[in-house]
Amino acid sequence: MKSRIKLLLAALSLLIAGTAHAAIEVFACSPEWGALTGEIAGNRAAVFVATTALQDIHRIQARPSLIARARTAALVVCTGADLEVGWMSMVQSQSGNDRIQLGKPGFLEVANFVPRIDIAGSVDRALGDVHPLGNPHIQFGPRQIQLAAEELTRRLVRIDPAGEGEYRARLADFTSRWSAATQRWLQLGAPLKGVTVIQHHKNFSYLFDFLGMRQVGSLEPKPGVEPTSAHLSELAEQQKIEPARLIVRASYQSPSASDWLAQRIKVPAIMLPATVGGSEGAKDLFSLYDDCIRRLLAAASG
């Protein structure tokens, strides 16, 4: 009997010890931030990823599961720049979690800490779903990812000071691997320099800028507005003046518009993973870039 009680006590103390050392809960708005948190925090964080690469992050709803996960999160990592404007504020206000409210270290909007492109000079809804704070698809800027990693590390250290050493060591390791990979991508992507491309939505502008590719149009007549036949015909006409060599869509976008235009103007149309998990190859941030560049190279040389 006594031994049983002892055993029970031991089990209980183990349980308590287990919860005391439990990983901090991180709510990542999208897979790239989940992957980045994994790079920096390793096993110190239990990451919940709210969306997938097959979902249009502009159109997510404040589902009950998101509110539940946000309730227990110590850190929320989102893109910001209004990308999650349709749902994140609702998740925050419903969660009852003071740690992840605006202005707290537990709410990180990465875009606030990185340079952004396509910042609209004038905004009006007649121009479509423009982002007044710039293009929010920053996961395809290597420099943006590096800056994000640094800010994420600062936040993790503030939230979980006990892990500072590990976070800093992991950041240093990530930084060296990332800068080496960045060099490699520049070399790998060298043949893509100057290649003209039409993309569905401006998902890959940062990547095209990085590789020196030239965007000559979008399938969407206006940001966030689905392609129309009139606009696609215009793009086909434009091909005579400024020919595009590639048409690119993201993993969550319907192929119908890009396939239609591809047939019409006789250039390859390809799908690129919108983020980590968008293709077989894109398993983490590194392979996301590898996969995208490989797909672009294959299409451009073909």
Partner: protein
């Protein structure tokens, strides 16, 4: 004279061309050096340019950040409140301007063109009117224009106002509340006037409705959006699925609490309890189940029970307790959880309303008072399917059950009709963007009886509706 000069010139020329091989190598070296220098400068210039670009972008970022009240201003403010440096890139201090703190403003414009076979103001037969019914008018009619303002007040509170500008040129305060941001542990408190957590659709703002009119049961029991002046406390359990409890205390400002009589009492006469459970089913589906209970006591002077059957034309009074129990279920599906191209939504709600108290028939005439015990219920189910981008189609079925209305001796004065109202609705809407919606709806309404003959009226109703949202992009509830 000439020759020595020539010789010197030749010598000089020889001297110049003599070590030609050595010189070529040197020149190559110089060229190489220049090239290297150029390369290194180019890369350094490129690096400097990149730096400049980054700095410019960072400056721009800082500027915008300052111009945006919702993020950086609050961030900086709350950081300052905690005695920390602002977290702007490069440690830049953030500028501020008065307009940066303006609340988010959105304005809803809506209007309806309606065609009714029967007079739309005839009430649902056999159910005490909730007083807050929404019935679009005949012909062209402007709906209520909603003006919504919201902002964080400080790091601890958020505030919001929803004002309705009615077509009758009045302004109604629909919601005006504060909500806590910093309670933590899953708790959120709300105070002021707000839409109650009873049921599911009750909290959905009219511009986000899937049909031009509310369900019959919502109209009959709660009115458009039942709200109260009071306080709400919600708690979310720390679980991977949503488990939420809420309680509200209010003064019972609106029907069913107050009816036509203005309440003049201390204390909380109205209480609401609600619970929601919700989660995901795989990656494509999400659900939420809810239960709620609303209980109220009428004011001591009773609650006007105007013209219960719409026939006798008498003024009646009810005094006692009213309870409304509700159950609701919401299910949403989209392929891979991406609602962009196709999505499906199913909602069903059931309510039961009970009265226990005294009923006075014809307050101005015979004034016969006796006990009243009534139990009535109603439900609806609706399904909405977006079959391609911008286009949604939907159907809804409504049914009310007249249940038991025990009037005791007053049964001699008033006979509750033996009739269950029903209605079928179908709608098609076109949403060219997130900010605009144009809807066509058809109702086959059998919710009313002809007062003289007692026969059910089958009313074919047609609506053409527009809803436009201007300004800030609001976040919607599930």
């Amino acid at each position: 004279m000439r020759h020595p000069f020539m010789a010197a010139a030749l010598a000089a020329a020889w001297a110049a061309t003599g070590p030609a091989a050595a010189q070529t190598a040197e020149l190559d070296q110089i060229r190489k050096d220049i090239q290297e220098l150029r390369n290194s400068y180019e890369s350094r210039i490129k690096a400097l340019e990149d730096k400049l670009k980054d700095a410019e972008a960072a400056a721009r970022t800082a500027q915008e950040a300052a111009a945006r009240a919702e993020t950086s201003a609050t961030e900086a403010q709350s950081a300052a409140a905690r005695g920390e440096a602002p977290t702007a890139p490069g440690g830049m201090t953030q500028q501020s301007s008065k307009s940066a703190f303006n609340p988010a403003i959105s304005l809803i414009l809506n209007g309806t063109w309606g065609r009714f076979g029967d007079d739309p103001s005839t009430r649902i037969t056999g159910f005490a009117p909730s007083g807050g019914e929404v019935i679009p008018g005949r012909g062209g009619s402007l709906g209520e224009s909603e003006l919504f303002l919201s902002a964080n007040i400080d790091p601890y509170f958020r505030g919001a106002l929803l004002a309705a500008l009615t077509p009758e040129n009045t302004v109604e305060v629909e919601e005006a509340f504060f909500e806590t941001l910093a309670l933590g542990q899953g708790f959120t408190a709300k105070g002021g006037r707000f839409f109650s957590g009873v049921g599911y659709f009750n909290q959905v703002h009219p511009h986000a409705w899937d049909f031009a009119d509310p369900s019959l049961v919502q109209n009959a029991f709660l009115g458009r959006n039942y709200g109260d002046d009071g306080a709400q406390l919600r708690w979310v359990a720390p679980l991977p699925v949503l488990v939420q409890f809420g309680v509200e205390l209010g003064k019972g400002r609106e029907f069913p609490g107050a009816g036509e009589v203005e309440r003049n009492r201390n204390g909380a006469e109205s209480q609401v309890f609600f619970a929601n459970v919700g989660g995901d089913i795989g990656v494509s589906s999400a659900y939420q189940v809810g239960a709620s209970h609303l209980r109220q006591r009428t004011a001591t002077d009773g609650s006007a029970f105007l013209d219960y059957d719409d026939i006798t034309g008498t003024s009646n009074l009810f005094q006692g307790r009213q309870r409304i129990d509700g159950l609701n279920f919401v299910y949403k599906w989209s392929p891979d959880g991406n609602p962009k191209y196709r999505n499906f939504k199913f909602v069903t709600e059931w309510f039961q309303r009970r009265y226990d108290g005294d009923f006075t028939f014809d307050t101005t005439g015979v004034a016969a008072t006796d006990a009243m015990n009534a139990k009535q219920s109603g439900w609806y189910a609706q399904a909405i399917y977006q079959f391609m981008p911008y286009w949604r189609v939907g159907g809804r079925y409504d049914r009310l059950s007249h249940g038991n209305v025990g009037l005791n001796t007053n049964a001699a004065n008033l006979t509750p009709p033996d009739f269950d109202p029903t209605r079928y609705s179908v709608m098609l809407d076109w949403n060219p963007s997130e900010y605009s919606r144009i809807r066509l709806q058809y109702n086959r309404d059998r919710s009313r009886q002809d007062l003289a003959s007692g026969e059910t009226i089958t009313d074919n109703q047609l609506f053409l509706q527009y809803i436009f949202s201007l300004g800030a992009h609001g976040a919607h509830r599930f």
